[in-house]
């Protein structure tokens, strides 16, 4: 049994310890908002927050997150920064297919929490682990800047 806190709820997960957090979320707990893209921490689609830090859940065994606080896309909007990011994404029409966007939103939220006013270069640096095959990067940059501005005025 691995005790974990996900989106504020406690669970005891009875799965082999090497089971990645991604598949625990998706298959075991039914939290399918976190996406599978590569299984090797190469694409960022599976990004969640572990104690506030962005983590690739596909390559994180549940044993590594025992007793830690995990936030997924389903709950990131409970946070002011996460909510501003989600709103900016909708307002700017960022998503195309949308599949990678949960991971993008998680990475962007983590970026803005630690760097409230990122430069474009800082955005590129923080977001280059998240692949978008539809190519929405220009709008992602703009939406992060928009969320940053809204964070400043709120």
């Amino acid at each position: 049994m691995t005790p974990v806190t996900i989106n504020g709820r406690r669970y005891n997960v009875d799965l082999p310890e090497d089971t990645p957090l991604l598949w625990t979320l998706r298959d075991h707990l039914g939290l399918t908002g976190t996406k599978f893209g590569c299984g090797m921490a190469l694409c960022g689609a599976c990004t969640v927050h572990v104690d506030g830090q962005p983590v690739r859940s596909c390559s994180t065994p549940i044993s590594a997150v025992a007793n830690k606080k995990i936030t997924t896309i389903e709950a990131v909007g409970n946070d002011k920064v996460g909510k501003a990011v989600q709103s900016a994404w909708v307002d700017m029409g960022v998503p195309q297919c949308g599949y990678c966007q949960a991971g993008q939103v998680m990475s962007a939220t983590a970026l803005l929490r630690r760097t409230p006013k990122p430069t474009d270069a800082e955005i590129d640096e923080a977001m280059s682990g998240n692949i978008c095959r539809c190519g929405t990067y220009v709008r992602i940059r703009a939406a992060i800047q928009r969320a940053a501005r809204q964070g400043a005025t709120s």
């Binding site: 976190t34 989600q86 307002d91 929405t136």
Partner: protein, 778 residues
């Protein structure tokens, strides 16, 4: 394995993202309920070609399987609370069709968008018309039928109101979700009229009054947010990989690593020892041609995806690699080049090429190579199936729901009517998800598991190894130019395995639809032209990838024009305009193009004026001719595809170490008119990034029959840092007087040549082989 302490609410049996329809009060849905209740009243289905084979050829939507339907009873329903439900019958893969298509209906219906909800059609082309979401066709084929749908429903609401008020129907008018009696100002909301309107006859198609474009409230405005936007950013959107059913099992499949191979023997004992693994099941492969049939192999079925993956690793399989075991991309490139140096089948001949060459002041030639590519949709192929009592339901991210339905039925040996295909959102499509091999795997496995629902998930490695690959090609070009450097003779020899080989193993030549993607239908003002297509053999599954053969053809043609310009010492843009020649309408038939993207040659001639227009617009907006610092350059390319005209100007920077960046791209697009301009921009932006990816990074290669790239570390795609800081999209204004062009694909082809032409301007180095990768490195 026990259940978690705190059970998450089950999403079992959620059929797709159209959940609300299931819980809707059925009595409220009687209005415009659908064809089944009103059989005989249904408007004719638009597939006359199937009924009258001797008729002249059909174009556009008429020429597609099952054509079009404009029956409001199939697409629109209105509840008594006024909620308007509109069916989207095309697959959403990021192009915005679930917003755009219902928007067209809602506009003509005078519906208030805030009270519209969208549900996704199952695969049922007899009811909805063609659903193959590819070829950049959705808006251009369904703009008119969807308008008629909305207008017909509006007419029925007006008739119901007029009857209630006992006034002539021409005295009432539908406006923003209610019908108004002009003389008295009486009003009735759509909800209150819903039931009565259901009793009104569907108006005859010819009598339906369409809006003038000036009256559009949503079409052309680009102001509506995406239907699925909020769900996407909150993790609620439902993709093919997200389906969860009670009692569902999870499968991954070990497939033959070489196309055409099969399992010689295997031992599943170790796999079965992995915790959570339930069973190991054979999937029978199929002899060539591949079509959309499963590749065969060994499936491992588990209680979760991870267990199945671990089980697969423990399988011991001996493969028989079959006839393609020697497929090697380095050797094959040499084979294609050899072929390209010899004459091939002539597929277009204007004037006298040999005489033109003989009289030319100078002769130039060049050869261009584009490798295999994989779509690498961010959502890998994934599907869930449940086969119970001879009936099958699938939930899948497919571009071709009817085709999926037919092929699942065929594989299971049941009638198509007993197969239901629920279409989820697609986490990217790009052509990969037109091929339903992965859905058939799920169906076979559910049947093998006695009807338990089974979800098949492809890993990224599976996706890259077992794609329907973009072809690999060598394009050989020769030109004879006069004393001023102007081309007077043009030879293009295109050598590439054909997509037809996926359906006919003997096929070795490009089909009309491949030649018609920018090799044969090039409308240049050159008197002596010869286009040849020598044979090439496919050694893997070849499929269509966003913009298809336009990619290598445009790369070669637009690079070669720039090479001729450089040889003539001319400005590249001015030279390109000269080669295009004066504004004129060119019949595709005079270019020996029998395909014309499936469109009428009269309705859709090649309009060189529009091609010139996008070149001039892109150049002007990009500041063509502006001075740039050392190591920077501008390049231009233009291409006509999917009956749309696109030109791109790339600005590149190449530093001392040969590091390439692309700070800005300007794209001009003329697609006749835009239903949703914001999504047209988005498609151009995305096409630009995908074009950059294939120009700079993308390559699938084979060695010993096997794909060499396993995951995104080896098959690289553009990331944020590689994307331009600015992508500026310039839409040529359209008023819907011209027939619409495609949007999803035509942005891709000009990008690679624009970049390579810019690199030449910046460095003097000419790139003829994609991807660029380290070719610029010092």
């Amino acid at each position: 394995m026990s259940a978690p302490v705190d059970r998450i609410p089950s999403t079992a049996d959620r059929p797709s993202s159209d959940g609300p329809l299931i819980i809707a009060n059925v009595s409220r849905r009687r209005f415009l309920q659908g064809v089944s209740a009103l059989g005989g009243l249904v408007l004719a289905v638009g597939f006359p070609s199937a009924l009258r084979a001797a008729d002249p050829p059909k174009y556009g939507a008429d020429g597609m399987p099952n054509g079009w339907v404009d029956d409001p009873l199939a697409f629109v329903s209105i509840a008594e609370d006024g909620t308007v439900t509109i069916v989207c019958h095309r697959s959403e893969m990021g192009q915005g069709v679930r917003t755009g298509m219902p928007m067209i209906v809602a506009d003509e219906l005078e519906a208030d968008w805030k009270r519209v909800r969208v549900v996704q059609a199952t695969g049922d082309e007899k009811r909805f018309g063609n659903q193959d979401t590819d070829g950049s066709r959705s808006t251009r084929h369904f703009f008119d039928p969807m308008r008629r749908c909305g207008a017909a429903a509006r007419t029925m609401l007006e008739a119901a109101a007029a009857a209630r008020w006992k006034v002539p129907v021409d005295q009432v008018e539908a406006k923003n979700h209610e019908v108004v009696h002009r003389a008295t100002g009486r009003r009735a909301g759509y909800g209150s009229l819903a039931k009565a309107a259901a009793g009104q006859p569907v108006p005859a198609r010819e009598t339906v009054r369409l809006k003038s474009p000036a009256q559009f409230r949503y079409i052309g405005k680009g102001e509506l947010k995406l239907v699925d936007g909020r769900d996407i950013v909150t993790g609620k959107a439902h993709y093919g990989i997200d389906t969860r059913l009670d009692g569902m099992l999870y499968a991954v499949v070990a497939r033959p690593p070489v196309y055409g191979g099969k399992v010689a023997s295997y031992d599943g004992a170790e796999a079965l020892k992995v915790p959570g693994v339930v069973r190991v099941v054979d999937i029978e492969g199929s002899p060539a041609p591949p079509e959309f049939k499963p590749l065969g192999g060994v499936a491992v079925i588990g209680r979760n995806t991870w267990a199945a993956m671990q089980g697969r690793k423990a399988l011991k399989i001996v493969w028989d690699d079959g006839p393609n075991a020697a497929y090697d991309s380095v050797a094959f490139k040499a084979t294609l080049e050899d072929t390209a140096h010899k004459p091939g089948k002539v597929v277009r001949s204007d004037g006298d090429f040999d005489a033109g060459m003989g009289a030319a002041a100078r002769r130039l030639d060049a050869e261009y190579y584009v490798p295999h590519l994989a779509h690498a949709t961010m959502e890998p192929p994934a599907a869930t199936a449940r086969v119970v009592q001879g009936k099958c339901e699938v939930w899948a991210c497919v571009q071709s729901p009817q085709g999926t339905r037919d092929l699942v039925a065929k594989r299971l040996g049941i009638p198509p009517e007993d197969v239901t295909v629920h279409v989820t959102l697609l986490g990217g499509g790009f052509g990969r998800k037109s091929k339903c091999d992965f859905v058939l795997e799920a169906a076979v496995l559910s049947k093998a598991m006695d009807g338990k629902p089974v979800k098949v998930t492809w890993t990224r490695e599976d996706d890259l190894h077992h794609c329907y690959f973009h072809t690999v090609s060598v394009e050989h070009l020769e030109a004879g130019v006069d004393a001023q450097g102007k081309p007077v003779a043009w030879l293009h020899r295109s050598v590439a395995p054909t997509i037809i080989s996926t359906f006919n193993a003997a096929a070795k030549q490009e089909a009309a639809f491949e030649l018609g993607m920018g090799v044969i239908n090039v409308p240049f003002a050159i008197p002596n032209v010869r286009i040849e297509n020598p044979e090439a053999t496919a050694h893997t599954r070849i499929g269509w990838f966003r913009s298809v053969s336009n990619i290598p053809h445009a790369f070669a043609v637009q690079s070669f024009v720039a090479e001729l310009a450089a040889a003539a010492g001319r400005d590249q843009k001015d030279f390109l305009l000269d080669v295009i020649g004066p504004a004129r309408q060119v019949s595709p038939q005079t270019l020996s193009d029998t395909w014309n993207h499936g469109e009428s040659p009269e309705r859709y001639p090649v309009d060189t004026g529009r091609l010139r227009g996008v070149v001039e617009t892109a150049a002007r907006e990009a500041g063509w001719g502006r001075s740039l610092p050392k190591g920077r350059g501008l390049g231009i390319a233009a291409h006509y595809s999917f009956v749309t005209y696109v030109a791109a100007v790339a600005e590149v920077a190449v530093d001392d170490k040969g590091q390439l960046t692309i700070p800005r791209v300007d794209i001009a697009v003329d697609c006749g008119g835009c239903v949703n301009p914001d999504r047209v921009r988005a498609q151009m932006e995305g096409a630009c990034v995908m074009g950059i990816g294939l120009a700079t990074l993308g390559e699938i290669s084979f060695k010993a029959g096997r794909v060499e790239q396993d995951n995104f570390h080896a098959y690289e795609v553009t990331r944020m840092a590689g994307a331009p800081r600015e992508i500026r999209v310039h839409i040529i204004p359209g008023d819907f007087s011209k027939p619409l062009g495609g949007v999803g694909e035509p942005g891709v082809p000009p990008i690679a040549p624009a970049i390579c032409n810019a690199i030449f301007a910046a460095t003097g180095k000419r790139i003829r082989r994609l991807p660029i990768r380290d070719q610029l490195k010092a």
